[in-house]
């Protein structure tokens, strides 16, 4: 298993380089111009000069190589410097000065390093989208298991109904509906997420909880709907297998049969779905973040796409690609743990 992981990680490097090149070419090919948001009152000659100042005058391959250099060499050196200087984890190491003032990956919208903004956006995305996902998984698994175990019971029917409605009604609608009910009519929760809130007391913690309730609910409902369906169907498949009859015949308790044998064997599709979803957590929930003004990574990406801020889109997309590759590998490793018969050599 270890050699498998090492080999896959090693092979991931060329894969990622290819992915980064494909993303770069795709963004190049996509119609759009960083000047789209500049008012029409700015004359075309000025816009042309602004484009040149963004580096758009340079040929394609130079720009790609520059980005690769900045992302794989300059940015990590900034990160390592920061880790050894300020972070709690590695602060004891001697301070490094790898970063020598070369240009970092700069956003065209803000003219500032992309990674600084990403770091700034991470907390709210992790809090809101991460929690939404975590709750979603935590609700989905028991619902899926019990729905399958008591197939066509009232519980199952209600669960099916809620999860299908939860999935088929889009978040741009449920989000606004919650705001209208709970912010406008009842005034319980704020409709706009305050990203500058610092949690340092009970009151500010409660404030944070209140502003997270609605976005987390919307996301949890959506995620739970999807995952519980896969959990249920996979459990159903396994509950009728011969080994279940054997286990029961052996006199194992119902609990041990269902949670021990059936659940373990049903996890493969569920693990896949959960692992597929984690990179999307980092990608942020574009619509939910917009509706509740969470301004996390999803909002950053969509804003950058609308403004045709190519360095930002390229960097964000590539970070997501990195996570996708890593989590696919994690899923593969988990398959081997769940079902030792699976081998990849």
């Amino acid at each position: 298993m270890l050699t498998f992981i090492i080999r896959r990680l090693f092979l991931a490097i060329p894969t990622l380089l290819v992915i980064s090149l494909i993303i770069f070419l795709l963004l190049e090919l996509a119609p759009g111009d960083p000047m789209a948001q500049v008012p029409l009152t700015v004359p075309p000659e000025v816009k042309e000069k602004m484009r040149l100042a963004l580096g758009l005058g340079e040929p394609l391959h130079i720009r790609y190589i520059k980005w690769v250099w900045q992302f794989f060499v300059v940015e990590p050196s900034v990160l390592i410097d920061w880790l050894t200087r300020e972070s709690a984890l590695f602060g004891w190491l001697p301070d490094t000065t790898l970063y020598d003032g070369q240009l970092r990956v700069l956003s065209w919208q803000t003219r500032s390093p992309v990674m600084d903004i990403v770091v700034q956006r991470l907390p709210q995305t992790m809090w809101v989208v991460g929690m939404g996902y975590l709750f979603g998984v935590m609700i989905a698994l028991p619902i899926g298991i019990y729905s399958a175990y008591r197939q066509y019971s009232i519980f199952d029917q209600v669960g099916t109904f809620i999860s299908m409605v939860g999935f088929s009604v889009p978040t741009f609608f449920t989000g606004v509906l919650l705001i209208v009910i709970f912010s406008v009519e009842l005034g319980w929760f704020p409709s706009i997420y305050d990203t500058t809130l610092v949690v340092n007391s009970w009151d500010s913690f409660m404030m944070q909880v209140r502003q997270m309730v609605m976005p987390v609910t919307v996301l949890a409902l959506f995620n739970a709907a999807q995952i519980s369906r896969f959990m249920r169907s996979s459990m159903l498949d396994n509950l009728t297998q011969d080994y279940v009859r054997t286990a029961r015949a052996k006199g194992l308790s119902e609990r041990a049969v269902v949670l021990g044998h059936v659940l373990r064997n049903s996890m493969i599709p569920v693990v896949t779905v959960i692992a597929l979803g984690v990179p999307q957590v980092f990608g942020g929930a574009i619509i939910t973040e917009q509706v509740f003004k969470v301004n996390g990574l999803g909002q950053l990406l969509i804003g950058a796409i609308e403004a045709n801020d190519l360095p930002m889109v390229q960097t964000l997309t590539f970070i997501f690609a990195l996570l996708i590759v890593v989590f696919n590998l994690i899923a593969d490793v988990l398959y081997g743990i769940i079902d030792p018969r699976i081998r990849y050599d």
Binding site: L29, P31, G32, D33, M35, A36, Q37, V38, P39, L40, T41, V42, P43, P44, V46, K47, K49, M50, R51, L52, A53, L54, L103, L106, S107, Q109, T110, R111, S112, P113, D116, I117, Q120, R121, V176, I179, S183, V184, G187, P190, S191, I192, D194, T195, T196, L197, D203, M207, Q211, Q290, V291, K293, N295, Q299, L300, G303, I305, E306, A307, N308
Partner: protein, 566 residues
Amino acid sequence: MKFKALMLGAVASFAFAPAAFAQRGADGHVNVIYWQAPSILNPYLSGGTKDLEASSLIIEPLGRYDQTGALVPYLATEIPTVANGGVSADLKTITWKLKPGLLWADGTPLTSADVVFTAEYCMHPEGGCAQAAKFEGVDKVEAIDPTTVKVTFKEAKPNPYGPFMGAQAPIIQKAQFAECLGAKAPECTTANFGPIGTGPFKVTEFRPNDVISLEANPNFRDPAKPAFATMTLKGGGDAAAAGRSVLETGEFDLAWNLQLAPDVLANMAKGGKGEARSGFGSLVERIMVNQYSADPSLPEGERSTAKHPHPFLSDVNVRKALSLAIDRPLLVEVGYGQAGRPTCDLVPAPAIYVSGRTECQTQDLAAANKLLDDAGYVRGADGVRAKGDVRLKILFQTSTNAVRQDFQALIKQWWEEIGFEVELRNVSASVFFGGDPGSPDTFQKFYADVQMYANNFDGTDPEAYMAAQTCDKIPRPESQWQGENIARICIPEYDALVAELGKTGDINARAEIVKKLNNMITNDSHMIIPLVDRGRVTGVAKTLGGFTLNTWDSELWNAADWYRIK
């Protein structure tokens, strides 16, 4: 919420202040929401309105336009004119006098050297300055003495208020930006995110594309202002959410640019927490009529170019029929309500430039039909008119936006009633308004027969705006499809008149020329079909006092005068 706690605290601590707005910082906290989030606070590196307006809280120009479009001095003692000797008789120089004793937020004095530096910063050839047009034609900028600056133009400049006037051209601090000239501009992130200014507020934290935290500038020139100690400018979301947060939940005090359907806005205002105010500037929603053929069967590179005049839209009677078929008052009622007025002019303001023609405001389907009949276009079996092989089939495109799609549906129906066949298309705004020469969907390429969008002009002088419609500014493949003459208008008399405008200094004579130019391309030839004079709508909380809606400058132009109504 955090700001409520802050507000209560501030109110409590200043409860014994005699007059609420007589003391700086006495009114606590104010919340502003922009549904487009500011990305940078240096207006010279970004032309975006959101960035200009946010930065106007911090950095200021020598003079601004007020809500009537009149010029008011800010950092200058007075607005230089020919009458007071500030502008030379040959219109080639303008001399600004700074107010005495001005301080930057960091306590250092502001001098004419900072003003000279600002011009140097924006005019640097490698800087890609977004406001370079403001410094167009400037020969040199010199400091006569620490409080006097003289701008010399290469040629006579009838409107010398380009440099250092309005939200687009504020003064930046030389000490802070000295190392940021030209290609180095983007490396100065700290300066671009937190410029030191002379405005009522200074930045405490800037989160790009998210939120700006500000506090009162301790060195602001009026010791009693601003009344608010701190401000939060939140960005993101959409217009409906911004409107809701001011008008319905009362979480915010000011919401910028509430472009919403009138009945939605009216319903929100029933929340009672605030009101929607509107003001009018020079923004006109219009239909551009393509003078060239965009037929998809033409070879690439020849569509929408002079090689192929439009088969029927080059006929003035057909264009006039299109204009006659539109019920402009109804469009306003459906799409803009109090924030729109029907118009027949490309220049809807200032009043001195307005032609005042209103005959287009009455829909006349019968007259439109008659025009087409007389021009020889007869209805076929399917109700669509044709003359020979020429069928009146048009492709009508615009950017994606709820109001524009409603307009498209309405106009399509009217045009079908007079015998056109209309196909609609909408394009995402980031593609439509982007100038990517590789995309077929930009408004410059205009691969359609008619298209609708809005445009305005900076400040109060429409010269550059009118000059954009001359023959040499037609977008074409040789110019990488760049150019502002989107409708492809090419009238020699128009071009001659534009040249004359550039030489005329007298304001009344200029106004006469602008009216003539306006009518040549709208009311007389219908190459541009103006629809709606669009105002700006701002949601203002009932407890926010002192806000004056200004459409000629930054909307936050008088933030120093805001106060809390208790």
